[in-house]
Symmetry: C2
Subunit: 578 residues, 2 copies
């Protein structure tokens, strides 16, 4: 018995006896059709215009049962139109029940839902439609004015379908509701390979052309499963979820799929994402979970403060979580929501290339939320959701050696690498291959972020690698400085950028937008304000006040434009290095 087990090599590993059932979006559609048909889907739509020409909101109420039936009719209608498996069907639309029908119906027929960012310039929209080789475009009536230009620029587009009524008929386009109503809801699901493309999103393309990412049925289902548990987004049937993050932006962080899979009621704001409408919908629909970028929460915070001061606070007692992503929420904002309104901001981190959920800032056991440690951890991007791996890589130029793994000590900054079944392995048409690399025999995606990871796995984004300030061979995180500056009472917005420096290579410059009516703090005051939290050599050498910081289509600062503007900047002197 003590002799080693014999080592005859096996021909192949033993396979399991389990069913080979593919993970597909069809499963999600069938769940809302058969189990959750009574749950509501509420959409704020444009009912008309007031005298000043501003759109007037009106809540449209539907159910998952109706959404499922119409999604199946849509699948039949697109099939009748000639759309086949793998064909790209584009949407240019706001968050609504109709967009949700597209989310479910288009992938379930094996076609690819391509959500296009409505905030892009029409030329960029046309470029993306052409690059994706979209055959059909489904466009919200709000953007119907773009149709002639798009049609002219995109000869490959074979059909255009408009969601909602248009003031004047447009020649040769189909009406979405009529199109859907004209076909049966008795749809025979095709057999799909779970690795088939289900949806497509383009990166924001702040450098170079936008690049396409094709999500699979598998990645969509796995992401939905991993996003639901309590240490991720904590979504269940009894929840009411309002995704303010647009459905054209990384599948609204996957929430439409996650919510449908578990039966949560969904609320959509459509084009009404200002503080007042958001607060009103949160209260009216008794929302439990909402999700958006920091600028949305800035608007909401202002409205909540206003209402509280006016003695008419909103009743948001059912609201458990405001998920914040897209860019980092400053700790001051997290504290303001908690202390003034008892509301919890939860950081999530991800990208178009990660489908997007990579990390969530759930606190570890034993750490109280309302404590300095708690707030500090909440201001980080958090820990990985299951199946996602992160690593830090040294910079081949600066830190010696090409791609060495760096320690997770909460201090060492490195290039953030991600890997997992819902992380991109390439871009559409094989572009941008330098963002993907093999380490230790495994493929990793270079996020372009610079981050730290602590011993408990908390990841903290320090900067975009292109925005990092490289001063005397060391790295300075612009994001940390910006968040600290925005806690100053006179500062509304802050961007810290690198400006060339003859001695240190680069030095930080603070570009500030002031709070209305505030006077500009001087350099000494800001230096004193930041000094307790940073090494002396991190502190900006100078500040410039501007009326506005340029913002891109996904709501992020366009630092490249700022750098171009200040490239020849000669400021108030170089800080000493000690």
């Amino acid at each position: 018995m003590s002799a080693p087990v014999s080592s005859t090599p096996r021909a192949r590993p033993l396979l399991s006896t389990m069913m080979d059932v593919p993970l597909t979006v069809q499963t999600i559609l069938e769940r809302i059709r058969t189990l959750y048909f009574d749950r509501e889907v509420v959409s704020l739509m444009v009912a008309g215009r007031d005298e000043a020409g501003n759109p007037v909101p009106e809540a449209h109420r539907s159910t998952y049962g109706e959404v499922a039936e119409r999604a199946l009719r849509l699948a039949n209608a697109l099939t009748a139109l000639g759309v086949q498996q793998g064909d790209r069907v584009a949407t240019l639309a706001v968050n609504s029940y109709r967009h949700l029908e597209c989310y479910l119906g288009i992938p379930s027929m094996g076609a690819v839902l391509h959500t296009v960012n409505i905030r892009l310039h029409p030329d960029q929209v046309a470029w993306i439609l052409n690059h994706a080789e979209d055959r059909v475009l489904i466009v919200e009536n709000l953007f119907a004015g773009l149709i002639p230009a798009i049609r002219a620029a995109c000869p490959g587009l074979e059909a255009i379908i408009v969601m909602g009524p248009t003031p004047t008929p447009i020649d040769g386009v189909l009406d979405y509701d009529t199109f859907v109503a004209g076909h049966s809801s008795d749809f025979a699901y095709p057999d799909l390979d779970e690795r088939q493309a289900a949806a497509m999103c383009y990166t924001s393309g702040t450098t170079g052309n936008p690049k396409g990412v094709l999500y699979s049925h598998r990645s969509t289902l796995l992401h939905s499963l991993a996003a639901a548990p309590k240490d991720a987004l904590d979504v269940g049937e009894r929840d009411t979820v309002m995704a303010i993050v647009p459905m054209f932006h990384v599948n609204a962080w996957g929430l439409p799929y996650t919510c449908a899979l578990v039966g949560a009621k969904q609320v959509f704001c459509g084009m009404f994402s200002d503080g007042k409408n958001v607060a009103r919908m949160l209260e009216q629909e008794q929302v439990t979970i909402t999700a958006g970028v920091p600028t949305i929460w800035m608007g909401l915070l202002g409205e909540l403060d206003r209402a509280q001061t006016a003695g008419t606070p909103y009743d948001l007692h059912r609201l458990n979580s405001l998920v914040v992503g897209g860019s980092a929420a400053p700790e001051a904002q997290i504290r303001a929501f908690q202390t003034r309104h008892g509301l919890k901001l939860n950081h999530a981190w991800g990208m178009t290339e990660t489908h997007p959920l990579g990390t969530v800032s759930v606190l570890p056991v034993g750490v109280d939320l309302i404590s300095d440690e708690g707030y500090a951890l909440q201001a980080k991007q958090g820990r990985t959701v299951p199946l996602i791996e992160l690593a830090l890589l040294s910079d081949s130029d600066e830190q010696g050696g090409a791609g060495e793994l760096l320690p997770h000590d909460g201090k060492t900054m490195g290039r953030l690498m991600a890997r997992g079944p819902w992380v991109a392995a390439s871009y559409y048409k094989g572009e941008g291959q330098s963002n993907f690399m093999t380490l230790g025999g495994k493929l990793w995606f270079d996020t372009g972020d610079i981050a730290t990871i602590d011993a408990r796995g908390y990841m903290h984004i320090q900067d975009r690698s292109k925005d990092l300030i490289k001063s005397g061979g060391e790295w300075i995180s612009s994001v940390d400085l910006e968040n600290a500056l925005m806690a100053h009472p006179a500062v509304a917005q802050a961007a810290v950028i690198a400006v060339p420096d003859p001695k240190w290579d680069e030095r930080p410059l603070g570009v500030l937008v002031l709070v209305a009516g505030a006077s500009a703090p001087d350099h000494a005051e800001l230096t004193a304000f930041l000094a307790p939290r940073f090494a002396k050599w991190w502190l900006p050498d100078a500040y410039e006040v501007v009326a506005a910081i340029p913002i891109g289509a996904t709501g992020k600062f366009l630092k490249r434009e700022l750098r171009d503007q200040f490239t020849a900047y000669q400021g108030a002197g170089t800080a000493s290095r000690d």
Copy 2:
């Protein structure tokens, strides 16, 4: 633009650009090693014997960090022994940290964890070890007495490893702790195909020989993801979970994997699953979720009642959920826990062939738990977890036609069919193929259960198909009658079985175990007790009182033995059919 989209057939569907990352148990092991290393694993072990020879429990405290390290050492040790990918490594062990190490280490090296039921007769254990062609056996010291017999009966077994000290040395066996300590924790994970077998369980085999089911890495990961959310088992890092369901029984309902994936603390009772030890551990470790079969909860209820009456109730305020499965908990038991102790029993349903989680009895929105509707729904097996599909099929003999799909109306009984990525497609070595069938081009597993499904998807097991009583061409559910009979104050246990009847083919006979000291109710009294809830022709024609009902190795009634015993039964007269 109004012409249909051209319909050139595509060569193949468009694949996504996402990474091809396999779902493997290695991911779970790496999560506890890198993120949750501080979380505790508490195991009740045998510290010695008292003067009466009864085992004395003692809590062993470990952490996920230690478990992960030892799991990796185990993988290296087994590799050094010659174990290769696909080799079966059997365990014959109670729930403990060592068994958890096997759960993680054995699949992570590509070998197959084969958990053997410790309650089987030694001849059955040997039969299963031989059938599975296990090469290594890891056995708890409690069962070391079986080693000579197993060794004699299983010549294919090349190594035996004993967990824990033995009173006298056994020649030629390895000590688990020494074996593990002798190897490095620096283990190079092999690349695995997610469809490879990770674990193996045998069905209880109440009919015919036991049959093996091989779980895959994929099914284990998907099951873990689907089991975590709030409408399933609701497990997160802040939870403390005590799986009383044995780790040799369908992977303890997957809880060791689910808990490790999300970082929940785990508590194991080992061999101490009596009411007193269970209650003490629930209190001492502040358990939030526990899981077991109804007989465990019967024991716990008795202890909680006793302690309450004695004025020394247990403090179980953190206990959110007692998951009940294996067989149905009577509504009376669910009500007793809720009304007397404020504790919630949650039904889950599954089988060895379903890995096991198929349904959970989470209430729909708008239904209050503490209401007649709430209790009635809680007594059902619940709704499917995501990715599992259920269907009802007519019986080819009785209901005309072979395999017609039956309506989900909450009334129509049918053969319960299941399908999903963690449902078996066959048994090991291709046995029992009649349990798998193709319907509408898809493979389904015939559970052998008879059930109803209502319009909201709530599934309710009516009977095992072999235990169903077929009376005059109609079906009578033994389970419903048993649950109703067990609500009678004089009845401790009830089994209702079919006995042959010349006129009706079969008629129900009630076999009762009385509450200690109670006198047997007569036929008229029991008939009057059941009459309000059942059609007259369902009511048993007669009752027999027995000292005990035979119980199988998985804790279920062995009705086949009862039927054999009462096969020639001629009772007190045949009930009229109207």
